[in-house]
Amino acid sequence: MTSDEELVARATAGDQDAFSQLVTRWERPIYALAYRTLGREEEARDVVQDAFLRAYRGLKGFKGEAKFSSWLYRITLNLCRDWMRKERRAPVAQVPEGTDPIDLADQQAAPTESVEDLVARREMSAAVQRAMADLPEEQRTAIMLKEYHGLTFQEIAEMLDCPLSTVKTRLYQGLTVLRRRLERQQAEAASLRRAHWEGTTL
């Protein structure tokens, strides 16, 4: 597979196809980053468009001191930050749709996944979104880049222009907060379920 560096070099020389290949390669991760940062599909799509447009226009200024993907991540994070600042909005935790079993039947990840498992998975997804949305931006970004994009601590530090120890501190603090929130939410969900079943059997 052609390396990012080679594709960047070709794209810089005017090869649009090379740039399209870079887009194909990085579009999904970039969308995932924008979507999880903003919590909105529409805005995430706009950010992806904008990020690649900026990357394309800025190719000549990209000196290759960082990885192309890191550069792209950085552009994306800046665009997300701009959007949140402009809209004065915190990231939105998307509330899951109704937990109607008929509605859920279509969405089972595998034929073996029971409706109960699916409900649990969706509850967990919603809980994670809420917990992440409540984190301070710096902690959320560190966790996002580590957990969903598999960047090394060193890569995160370079991308965010901060010391390695700062990245680890943010990650540790973020994980600690998430742990508390998720444990509490899971306890609440369990007691709600218990109350529900007890209520229906009474």
Binding site: Q16, F19, V48, R121, S125, A127, V128, E147, F153, L182
Partner: protein
């Protein structure tokens, strides 16, 4: 919090070299805080996986001449060539004839007779890449454009255009036109791209208001015929 926190994170995320891993594992055996952290963080990491991302079609299309394609497919080649050609005949009234025919006064007069430029079209809002339009027009011009245009132009008593030009004259005309295309300003192409988009949009509307857009195109073609007839006649007389 334990002072080994950062190393425990390296361990948790598999960033610790093997020798360090063994050392950290020995530490975990004796440190309740770190052991509890690792177990809890592993659960958190597992939970985080529940947050998926919706499937998404590609959002990157700037290189694809998408707004032009449907129109290009729906409209006969000659009409498209005509519409595009109208733009550079009309848009450069006065300048075009001179560039094609040198100082031939008849050419200038003909181009001016081609009608008013579509000045209402804003030039600062291109909907398609000018480069794409440019290549499209070039392609159309050399493949079918001028030939189709000439064939679509009826010869009548009042129309002095000959049925066939000799090959050299035609080639020269094509070369001149292409030279014009090459020399054309970016602004011109923005105008053309927008014009094409406008026509393309009209084509979409045309599905409901059947015929209106084609009538409009036909009118443009009529205007164009006058211009091209004049140019070809002038060219012809210069060749002779």
């Amino acid at each position: 919090m334990c002072e080994h926190r950062d190393r425990v994170l390296d361990y948790l995320y598999d960033e610790a070299p093997p020798a360090d891993r063994r050392e950290i594992e020995r530490h975990l055996d004796g440190c309740d805080i770190c052991r509890d952290d690792v177990q809890a963080f592993r659960r958190v990491r597992q939970d985080l996986l529940a947050w998926g991302v919706p499937e998404q079609a590609s959002v990157w299309t700037p290189f694809a001449p998408a707004p032009v394609v449907p129109w290009h497919r729906q409209v006969p080649a000659w009409a498209m060539a005509a519409a595009a050609s109208v733009m550079f005949v009309v848009g450069a009234a006065g300048g075009f004839a001179a560039s094609v025919l040198g100082d031939n006064g008849r050419g200038v007069a003909t181009a001016q007779a081609a009608g008013p430029a579509p000045a209402a079209v804003p030039v600062n809002a291109p909907a398609v890449d000018p480069g794409v339009v440019s290549s499209l027009v070039r392609q159309e011009l050399s493949a079918a454009g001028f030939n189709a245009l000439r064939e679509a132009t009826p010869v009548s008593v009042t129309n002095p255009m000959p049925a066939r030009l000799d090959l050299n004259a035609e080639r020269r005309l094509l070369a001149s036109a292409e030279a014009f295309v090459g020399a054309s300003e970016q602004r011109q192409w923005l105008k053309i791209s927008h014009y094409l988009t406008v026509v393309a949009n009209e084509q979409d509307l045309e599905r409901r208001r059947d015929g209106e857009s084609l009538t409009h195109l036909a009118r443009e073609v009529l205007v164009l015929r006058e211009a091209v007839n004049g140019l070809l006649a002038a060219q012809q007389s210069r060749v002779q």
